[in-house]
Amino acid sequence: MPQASELEQRIATALPGARVNVEDLTGGGDHFRAEIVSDRFEGLSRIEQHRLVYDVFGDDIGGAIHALSIKTSTPGATA
């Protein structure tokens, strides 16, 4: 069962310099929420930003990771 910290690490490795926070929403290791701030998202549409994150996990999305809710932003646009 994946841990939030493991997801955080995988995203941080794939997107160096990103600020990543992953929460396990149910405590059950299958519903996660990830908030990611990265300059890699600069100039990308939301779809492209989320795809970058999904790509980190490949087939684990819908598999071991049942659901991953994503919020992306760029360092300049942090609310």
Binding site: R46, H50, R51, L68
Partner: protein, 131 residues
């Protein structure tokens, strides 16, 4: 249906319906909190949309994700283009971009996303115990 038939059914659905939602369950009876929120946002804008339940056959989701390159459900398409899943749709709903994209009036009343169903937690117990 063969996989190819499923894929072309999906392609046609996206092409022929200006607003096309692929979801778990149906709009009046969503089978997942993410699908419920996405359908709820469209309902709140009062736009007409076609919806397809992906649950009846696992190949629907496989073919859809193969086509869109998007791994999760729901998926909203507008004018043949993938807009996003529930996170993106909700962000766009809240910012007013979704209303703009769909040419709808933003709702007068704020839309409360449906709460995620709480997992049912019951103590371990036997029903109909036999003496």
């Amino acid at each position: 249906m063969t996989n190819d038939e499923i894929r072309s059914f999906i392609e046609n659905a996206i092409k022929e319906n200006k607003v096309m939602l692929f979801m778990k369950g149906v709009p009046h009876q969503p089978a997942c909190g993410f699908s419920a929120r996405t359908a709820g946002a469209l309902n709140a804008l009062g736009v007409q949309y076609a919806a397809l339940d992906i649950l009846p056959d696992p190949r629907i989701r496989e073919e859809l994700s193969g086509l869109s390159g998007w791994p999760t459900i729901p998926q909203l398409f507008v004018d043949g283009e993938l807009v996003g899943g529930s996170d993106i749709v909700m962000e766009m709903f809240e910012s007013g971009e979704l209303a703009e994209l769909l040419g709808a009036e933003p709702p007068a009343e704020p839309f409360e996303p449906e709460p995620q169903p709480e997992p049912v937690q019951r103590p371990i117990g036997l029903e109909n115990r036999l003496d």
